[in-house]
């Protein structure tokens, strides 16, 4: 599959066609948690994108060195190192962002997008392609977070880009004239009361659901497939899931690949009802 794509397609597929959040439904935790404002969304998206590109490059460069049996732990070590680096940089230069992202910054380690791309792409493809794939996926993730953040911040808080000064500080003090977002609510005489529910957790689920419905609608009109049902298809643990299915446990029903979603899904687990991991996937990977 990958060989047929040009380098440009490799880059753009992550932004639209295989958008990690809206199409593959990976990395839902940060998508829902940090999108209470656009500033947080940008911060989170870029941090994850940096980790994604760096870990993709390193994993791809080491793909012939890492033994398949210990690859998941190796990937985790690589990813965790880059997350630690990003975490330290953010703490040092953007303390305000570190405060607002809190625990979700170190949790980039377990973001399924990153491990998922390492497993499905970087571990099998050359360095340049992996870097482009990571960059595209990272930008796709950031854009989706920004879309969520825009909707939730405007409706739930009545502001847009509030607190962006904390991010722009990287470029130097007052480069952007102290720009710190718009206060939309204040433009109405008498003011408006924002719908706080949108920045509450319930609003996060709701906006995400609506966004996926909208994207599904657009894609379907163009003759594409719906975003996959949330199963473990594109999740890096799909192989274990398939094993679970073999033992006849109820789990198999949930996790065996159902809709044959392309990309990661097809590469990682068996087809409908026959949860046999494809050769070279993670069967027994972690037991080693």
């Amino acid at each position: 599959m990958a060989e047929k794509l040009t380098l440009k397609q490799e880059f753009t597929k992550g932004i639209l066609k295989e958008n990690p959040t809206l199409r593959l439904v990976l990395g839902t935790c940060p998508t829902l948690a940090v999108t209470t404002s656009v500033t947080n969304a940008i911060g989170m998206g870029l941090s994850a994108a940096i980790v994604l590109v760096c870990s993709n490059v390193v994993i791809s460069a080491l793909r012939k060195v890492i033994s398949p049996k210990v690859r998941i732990p190796s990937y985790i070590v690589v990813i965790a190192s880059f997350v630690t680096l990003v975490q330290m940089l953010v703490k040092a230069f953007l303390p305000a962002l570190d405060d607002s992202l809190g625990v979700y910054l170190p949790l980039i380690v377990v973001n399924c997008i990153i491990l998922g791309r390492a497993e499905a792409f970087a571990g099998k493809n050359p360095v340049l392609r992996s870097a482009l794939d990571g960059l595209g996926m990272g930008i796709g993730f950031t854009l989706c977070l920004c879309a969520m953040g825009t909707i939730r911040e405007i409706l739930g808080n009545g502001t847009f880009l509030a607190g962006i000064a904390d991010l722009l500080k990287v470029f130097g003090d007052n480069v952007f004239g102290g720009f710190n977002g718009f206060d939309l609510a204040s433009h109405y005489p008498g003011g408006v009361v924002p719908m706080t529910v949108f920045i509450l957790p319930a609003g996060g689920f709701f906006v995400f659901g609506m966004l996926i419905a909208a994207v599904n609608g657009i894609v379907e009109r163009k003759g594409g497939k719906k975003a996959r049902e949330p199963d473990c298809a594109a999740c890096p643990m799909a192989g274990s899931c398939a094993e679970a299915g073999k033992s006849g446990a109820p789990k198999g029903e949930d996790c065996a690949v159902k809709n044959g979603a392309k990309a990661a899904a097809a590469e990682q687990a068996g087809t409908d009802g026959a949860p046999v991991p494809a050769p070279g996937t993670r069967e027994g990977g972690e037991v080693a």
Binding site: V25, T28, C29, P30, L32, A33, P73, I76, V77, A80, S81, V83, T84, Q87, M88, G102, V103, P106, L107, V109, V110, N111, C112, L115, V197, L200, P201, A202, G203, G204, F205, F206, F208, G209, M210, I212, A213, N216, K226, A227, E229, P230, D231, C232, C235, P236, M237, S240, C241, E243, A244, S247, A249, P250, K251, E253, D254, C255, E286, V287
Partner: protein, 196 residues
């Protein structure tokens, strides 16, 4: 004692890990189609959360004592991954019935952000060992409550007539939104009961 009760109520209801902190959303959406699966998965999560907290507490003390606190993320994830693997092997060999019940869920939990999340949050909050364990237990029970409740919602969703454009994932997320909204009603319960 009061503080422990407060921690429990907070973890299970007001600060529910899934519905208000958005940790562990993947299994919440992926494994909640049937109530018994949801139950098994959550039982395994409680188990691993407690073990991970017990294992990382001394390790964290060691890291802090040697001024290596910046290694927390990388050490914690490795400890959790190794621990889960070890537990799986031990259970398989010595306690087969428990392995039958939890074993299949264990590998899936390694990269569950709720487990790493609870460990990091305990460290960030500066809890002592007892409080860390209580907070992890509450987080696990909260996960179970959310999962089991939501699996009930989903079983009913399966048989209901959903507008076409919302079919599949969108309606699941909207149902989750309403479930989360219902937990909002408990806000302030900890303060109201005079627990903190």
């Amino acid at each position: 004692m009061k503080y422990y009760i407060a921690l429990f109520v907070m973890g299970v209801i007001t600060n529910n890990y899934v519905l208000s902190k958005f940790l562990g959303i993947c299994p919440f959406l992926g494994v909640s189609k049937k109530t018994n699966t949801a139950f098994g998965m959550s039982a395994a999560v409680i188990f691993v959360m407690l073990l991970a907290t017990a294992a990382t507490y001394p390790i964290n003390s060691f890291l802090v004592a040697h001024k290596l606190a910046y290694l927390q993320t990388i050490v914690f994830i490795l400890v959790i991954a190794a621990l889960v693997q070890m537990v799986e092997i031990i259970l398989k060999r010595y306690i087969p019935p428990l392995y039958q019940a939890l074993g299949i869920y264990l590998p899936l939990i390694t990269t569950n952000c709720a487990v790493l999340g609870v460990v990091i949050l305990n460290v960030d909050s500066g809890y002592n060992f007892g409080r860390s364990m209580m907070s992890s237990f509450a987080a696990g029970v909260g996960f179970m409550v959310a999962m089991v409740m939501f699996s009930g919602v989903r079983e009913r969703l399966e048989s209901s007539d959903v507008p076409k454009f919302l079919e599949g994932l969108p309606i699941t997320l909207i149902a989750a939104s309403i479930t989360s909204l219902s937990f909002l009603g408990f806000g302030g319960i900890v303060e109201g009961m005079g627990l903190i």
